[in-house]
């Protein structure tokens, strides 16, 4: 199922993309449920835990699949339609599967002034992704452009998964990528 067809209606349940989630293991069980339950007393509403719950879902599934979305909605007492509206507002939640290592490259003006276009070109080539948003054939990488990462004094910053790497140049890329199998 691709992003374009991942429509979710209320009551559709998590079974629609069983080939992604099978065998079905609930996200909010065991340790993850404990983490979520520990957050509830910190906020006056359950809804305020939506962004944290989505982070947990993405950690568990690698993306916000339609099934994951439904589970998040259920655990917070929200509708899947509402949750989808929120998910699509934020760029860091994946609405389709991505490579094992998700790479975000800053190309906003301060980094552009210092050569981020060359970093992006080299990353697309050396990961084998070829184009923005596409996943490499081996499933290792997905590369996207990101707006200002807030490290403009250290151009070009990139994020690989949760690893924030500063001062990346085209020459450094093959060495950096070796650390991500």
């Amino acid at each position: 199922m691709t992003a374009g067809t991942a429509g979710v209606g209320a009551g559709e349940g998590g079974g629609v993309e069983a080939h992604h989630d099978a065998p079905h293991v609930p996200i909010f069980a065991g340790k993850v449920k404990e983490r979520l339950d520990a957050l509830f007393p910190k906020y006056p509403t359950k809804q305020a835990c939506l962004l944290p719950a989505l982070w947990m879902a993405q950690e568990a599934r690698g993306w916000i699949s339609p099934g994951a979305l439904t589970e998040v909605a259920a655990v917070l007492g929200l509708t899947p339609a509402y949750v989808r509206g929120v998910v699509t507002f934020y760029t860091m939640y994946h609405t389709h599967p991505v490579g094992r290592h998700f790479i975000q490259v800053c190309t906003t003006s301060p980094c552009h002034l210092c050569g981020s276009d060359d970093v992006l070109t080299a990353l697309l080539r050396e990961t084998g992704c070829g184009e923005l948003g596409a996943t490499s054939a081996d499933g290792r990488f997905t590369v996207i452009e990101v707006e200002c990462l807030g490290a403009c004094g250290f151009p070009t910053p990139i994020l690989i998964g949760d690893d924030f790497i500063e001062s990346v140049t085209p020459e450094r890329i093959s060495g950096i990528l070796q650390g991500y199998k």
């Binding site: 006056p44 003006s109 002034l113």
Partner: protein
């Protein structure tokens, strides 16, 4: 200090004194450096006295708007029986700005201490620190520091035995520039799309969860404990001639300077000293072309304006721009100004929340027109069209994202018109292919 470079003699390191000093990150390390004295002092004062101390210091918001902090705190209702909230805006996303990141990475306890003082001053028991999702390292450093602060009673049910309850909760964003706008941030924290809200009501009346709320930037709150420890008079004395702009400000300098980094200046420092002395000036053989002094949302400055500019709130306004967040983007004579303005417009088009027509359409249209100019297919009427659209994008929307897109466009055309005309006349070869 000009982190990651050694401190320059012309700097005044207060907030940045321990940047790069990993030992300052721990509770013990912070206490050894005089930390948490400000909070202890505050807890022995009435909330009103703390607010008065902030007013006397002259501290103004460091996130962009420059609103006096003590005055903002004084807007919170008294004895209304409702829970109050403090929110710390750590959604640092303004292109050119990277100061809050270093504060959180190196001196997390300065921020926690400032949050605790703020809570006491405005009668709140809970502070949420909203950290942008991309800031993974600051998140981990802050998480560890908050845990330690609870373990040492700097946070919790009975802070330092004062009987005061102060909680600090970290909340992770998920990628949206607009969530740095205070009301969008509140919506995001409530588990909603990050759409800005119409004001009034202002946050002090109905903010987070519709309750009285104060929202402050990371740098503002991190300055608070220093002011309490060393006194408002000391802070107010950090001033170079303009009593409306007091204290130190972290200026993140990026782009075409020899030593980009975070420079902590006394407000009022000449901008040319900052760029040419502290940052080492331009790369060899290059000259200055333009500066965007306060994050990408403010007008461009010419070298002549930079030359006579005092780096403070009023000084930069007098020279045609704004201090904003203090994110200074320096461009030398190799820069294609038209392309960089196009790139900024594209940023705003991407980040518009699309609530308001002027912003949703305006950011997209201006981006397309700039792309057309860069592709060699610009029309002679395009500059007037851009100015006309920009006028409709200024002062007409719920928040200022739209205005922020217009500022570099308008100032770019006013101050660097020849660069645009060179594309229109084909004197400059096209750099973009139209899709």
């Amino acid at each position: 200090m000009g982190f990651p470079h050694p401190s320059h003699p012309k700097e005044t390191p207060v907030l940045s004194k321990y940047f790069g000093d990993a030992a300052a990150r721990s509770f013990r390390g912070w206490v050894e450096r005089g930390g948490y004295e400000g909070l202890k002092k505050a807890l022995g004062m009435t909330p009103e006295a703390v607010v008065e101390e902030m007013k006397a210091s002259g501290l103004r918001g460091r996130g962009g708007a420059g609103f006096p902090t003590g005055l903002k705190w004084s807007f919170m209702p008294k004895d209304d029986g409702k829970p109050h909230y403090l929110v710390c805006n750590a959604d640092e996303s303004e292109p050119g700005t990277f100061k809050d990141r270093e504060i959180m990475r190196w001196t997390p306890h300065a921020l926690i201490e400032g949050c605790a003082v703020g809570c006491h001053a405005i009668g709140a028991e809970c502070c949420y620190i909203y950290i942008r999702g991309e800031f993974t390292e600051p998140w981990h450093v802050m998480s560890a520091a908050v845990e330690e602060a609870y373990a040492h009673n700097a946070l919790g049910e009975n802070v330092f035995g004062s009987g005061k309850r102060i909680e600090v909760v970290l909340h992770r964003g998920a990628g949206a520039y607009i969530c740095g706008e205070e009301t969008a941030l509140m919506n995001s924290l409530e588990g909603k799309r990050g759409n800005p809200r119409i004001k009034p009501p202002f946050p002090a009346q109905a903010g987070l969860f519709a309750l009285p709320t104060t929202i402050n930037n990371v740098e503002t709150l991190a300055a608070v404990p220093h002011i309490l420890t060393r006194g408002a008079a000391w802070y107010k004395g950090l001033c170079l001639g303009n009593p409306k702009s007091t204290g130190t400000k972290l200026i993140s300098v990026c782009g075409h300077v020899m030593r980009p980094g975070n420079y902590e200046i006394t407000l009022g420092t000449p901008m040319k000293e900052l760029i040419f002395d502290m940052c080492g000036g331009m790369r060899p053989g290059r000259t200055l072309k333009a500066v965007i002094p306060g994050g990408s949302s403010v007008p461009l400055m010419t070298p002549e304006e930079v030359d006579q500019c005092a780096t403070d709130y009023e000084g930069i306004v007098a020279c045609g721009s704004m201090l904003g967040s203090g994110g200074m983007i320096v461009m030398d004579d190799s820069t294609d100004i038209v392309y960089e303005i196009y790139r900024l417009a594209k940023f705003y088009a991407h980040e518009s929340c699309a609530q308001c027509t002027q912003c949703r359409e305006g950011t997209a249209w201006t981006t397309k027109i700039l792309a057309r100019i860069l592709s060699g297919q610009g029309k002679s009427s395009d500059l007037d069209l851009l100015l006309d659209l920009s006028e409709n994008m200024t002062g007409k929307t719920i928040c200022v994202l739209s205005d922020s897109c217009a500022a570099p466009i308008v100032s770019g055309i006013q101050k660097f018109r020849a660069d645009f005309e060179a594309y229109l006349s084909r004197a400059t070869a096209p750099v973009l292919a139209l899709a």
